[in-house]
């Protein structure tokens, strides 16, 4: 798989504003939020992933925008564009996720919390919050392909273009419902692993379908 550096840079540049804003917010949130970060009750994080992902994909994945259409008519083939769009999305997500993960997995967050707030839980944060970044990542792994699929689906030459967007809505609703309905912390590990597995299967399916349908995508800017 060859990487076209100029194309990748171009697409990352398209996502730069949203990435910077998101990174600032995410790092600030992870560093300065007092109290423990629990993935299953952190609706703000879920909302952040939803908005961030939506904004990211809107920057690079919407074929009806002039900027994205420009790429399609500019000498790149479909598969190259698809590959680089995903790669750029992954880099943008990584730019936000990696600092958060480092903050949480290292003693850094505990130190900041201890220094700023004298937080009594500072020594507990690293071990208690280990799973938090993984679930953030899982959220991105499901949401980004879902959104890309939604836009690709909309640009298909056959009917039912909105179904991708409806599916994205369904994923968001399901995520919030599960976060609210199920204290998954108390579920047996095999059940949580099942949900994670289902999410990964979902993500894989959307990526493969997206790649295939991307070839038929119509650029109608």
């Amino acid at each position: 798989m060859t990487i076209n550096r100029s194309l990748l840079v171009w697409q990352c540049r398209l996502m730069l504003p949203v990435t910077l804003v998101a990174m600032l917010f995410a790092v600030g949130y992870a560093a300065f939020l007092p109290g423990l970060l629990r993935w299953h009750t952190d609706y703000l994080a879920l909302l952040f992933i939803t908005i961030h992902g939506w904004w990211l994909v809107l920057s690079v994945g919407r074929p009806t925008s002039g900027g994205v259409a420009f790429l399609y008519g500019n000498g790149f083939d479909r598969d190259t564009l698809w590959r680089h769009t995903l790669l750029a999305s992954a880099l943008a997500v990584g730019t936000v996720w990696v600092p958060v993960a480092i903050l949480i997995w290292s003693p850094l967050r505990g130190v900041i919390q201890s220094w700023l707030y004298d937080n009594p839980e500072f020594s507990l944060m690293a071990p208690l919050e280990t799973s938090y970044p993984w679930f953030l990542l899982l959220g991105y792994l499901v949401w980004i392909p879902m959104l890309h699929y939604a836009w690709i689906r909309e640009a298909q030459p056959f009917r039912g273009g909105n179904s991708g967007h409806w599916l994205a809505v369904a994923v968001v609703v399901a995520s919030f419902t599960m976060g609210n309905a199920a204290p998954l912390r108390q579920a047996p590990p095999w059940m949580i692993n099942s949900f994670v597995g289902a999410a990964l299967v979902l993500s894989g399916m959307l990526l493969l379908a997206g790649r295939r349908l991307h070839r038929d995508l119509e650029v109608r800017a």
Partner: protein, 929 residues
Amino acid sequence: MSTSLTTLLERAAWIGGAVTLAIGAFAIARQLTVRFTGWRPAELSLPISNNLPPPRLPGWFPRFCATRSAEAREPLGQVQVACLLARCVESAVVWLIGLTLVGAGLLNVWWYGVDLDVVPVAQQRHEFVVLAFLAVTITGLALIGVVWRMGLSIVAIGVLLSAYFSLLDQGTISRRPANEADLAACPIEIRMEDGTVGADVWVNGVLLGQTPLTVTLADWMKLPKWLDAPTTGPDGREVLTTRTSRGTRWLTCVVRPDRRWVSASVPEGTYFLWAEIGGEPLVSAHASHANVSFDGVQWMASPILIQGQSPRWLTALDRLLDQARARDYRIESPDEWLAAMHSFGEGGWRQAMRAAESEPLLNDMLVELLQREIGVTAATTQDEAWAIFERLERQATEARDYQSESRIGRSLELLLPHLDPERLARYAAGIVDGLRWVPSARSWGVLRRGEHESVGRALLPVVSHEHESQTDGNARPTFSTGDLTLSHASVDVTHFRRRDQLARLSFLAHAVWRMDELLDRKETDEAGDNVIERLVVSALLRRGAEHADVRQLVMRLGGSLEDQHLQRWFRDWRRRRPGHEFQFGSEFWRMTQGDQSEAARRWRRQHPDEVLSFAESIGFEENQDFYFGLSDADVSTESLAVRFWPKYREHTMSLQGWPPVRKLAAMWRYLFRMEPYSTPEMYVSAWRTSGIELFLASELQLDDSEIATRLSHDKRKAVIAALTAEAQARLNFAQSDEARRRVAELEEQVAKREKMLRHDIALGPDPVAPRNQKEFLETLIAEAQSELKSAQYDISPRRLAELEETLRQIAALERNAFASRTQRALQRFEYFDDKESAFESLADVMTREIPACPELLELLDSPDPKKRLLAARVIRTHPAPHIRPLLEKLLGDADAEVKKIASETQTEWQRLATEEPGKWLRVTDHKKR
């Protein structure tokens, strides 16, 4: 078990699922058939009879079929393939989401979804049937979406899932609305707390059967209604109603349906139980209440546990212990003794251990027996010791109840020094990590131990209350699962369903706690943490750092991790948990006032301003009685209690609607708890501030146990002296010099007499004074006070004479006010009608003291043969080594009756010393439930 709604839903689920799946499968099959075989479906028509017109189908349906057929016949171009792929993917996504949400319903504890640990098998069937067919329906709809309309399929699945979760929340399969028909069938179990089988139980005069027995709530509600317990038992014998008596009485039991589920038509009721074993009513009995609640799955009632013993059992146990005493606690055949102890059941062990608290040699004997029983001395390897631990753990779990003050608890404490701390720590940490319901563990359990009632957490750390040993006065926490009466409003039925596991956790908490204490006495590692603190504390904090239960245990275990966490946790209480100030406040309150753990004490030492600030903010609510402890006796006059005293006094005086005597009682309680740093001047200032004209101690209604444990004898005298001096200062208004002088003399006598104070505040350790004696003394002192007051204005010789007579009577009884426990027992024996009960108390008190108590010696040396006879009777009850020499004196007594009793006693003791240990042999089975 099934209800009409459950059955309906189950049927709807499988019918709907089957139909939907069939439709989806048919649609797919039809498409595939048309595509691959070229079959052209015929025009849709229905068989008609000759005379009826053909049925008219909606116009869109044939068009739809034709369109789909045409599509199916089209060659699959690239676009068509992509279209099909998209619909398949979308269907699969929706299907996955649907199934995931359905699966989430399995976990939904808050919506009372399926809780696989505790749902009965029959109920699980309903759950899984509905869930399985819900999944099938979703699959069918997904298939329909592939063929027909994806959007409609998504909507249909969404509606289905919404309905499912709405129904779940409303209470159907997993959370059904409380069905009062089912309520009637709710079983209420009645059993003996110690597991005794075969005790006869009456409720409101109706014989229900033998323990363990179960009655339905419906039958229970049919029992006759009594407003109050009768004065006779079922056999017509009169019952004793005083709580402290060893007599029999009707036991109060309240059955309370949970009002969140049950309408007012099912009343709350107070019932009266009577229990007998082999025709003998139980003594010192108590029954727990029954709370009836609904957990979303089934109705259940907490069991009614009856505590109590049969008199013969008590007598037999006493005899067994006397046999030990007569042998100087040296046992030749430990196996026989073990068998004998076991024959009395767990209750017997508890009773013996309670007695051993004041008999070190008996304690040693019991320890030796327990060591032999569990085999700890024979265990040479860690694996063997661990095997013993596991055996004890199993016993606790099977008993479904655990108390640290039990045979198993004591055995555990004997075992712990032989156990590898690290192994225990890892084991405990593993269990803590594996707990799935610590966060929701909030219910309280009520521990009943004799007459003493306490409330504690029914789960981790399962600390019931601080039990003070009667010998050394050191507080020692006890662990108990209690009887889980669910007697508080915040019932979390999850624990009730899991109560079988609570015993094990209590056992483990006890083990961890004690091991930590053992290790703390030894050298610790470089960081200052022992292995318990390193592993278990971190596990506890991982699982439930946010929960008061866990914090409480963690505080007691200590360690650097605990220190880091907790020292900060409580530091700024105002910032903690917005919206949860009350819960946090309660915990904070407990820690500031009552918690004697090292962590709490250290915290109080380091953050006194926080504590005082908190006390001022939380405690001083209008018309609230602020029970504020601030027990930090280790910091001398700089204690928080001392510093807070002026504010507390000011607050108490500002309370509206309180009579002066109540205010004074509250202030004095505070000072009692401040001991030994409260001064007589403080007591006087409290009295002075209260505005009470004269010191009417009978109205103070102070709890004698507080007084008993807090004031030393010398302090009592100093307080009284200060009080009477103050009182005297106000009373000196005699009219004439002579009268004034006489009044002054009388006042001086009153002042000298400790009997100026009402005996209610009698500052002796005995818990409760006899009521009739109280009333008599009250009357005398009231008369004296009244007379002295009026003597300020009118002193007549007659009055003075009456005063002097009153004072003489008071003087005669004055020793009762500040008597020692023994003295009070003597007085009670002298004045009470129930001589048998009074004698039991007297004998118990007199013989426990080692060496022999002065009052007994006094009786022995008394010239009055009646007193010597009393001494002889007392001695006879307790053949302990320190008592036996006293008998020698009586064997040569001049009084024939005394000598006879002494001789009989000697014979009896010789027999006790030689006979085999007496087992409790009854027809009634003592096996565990």
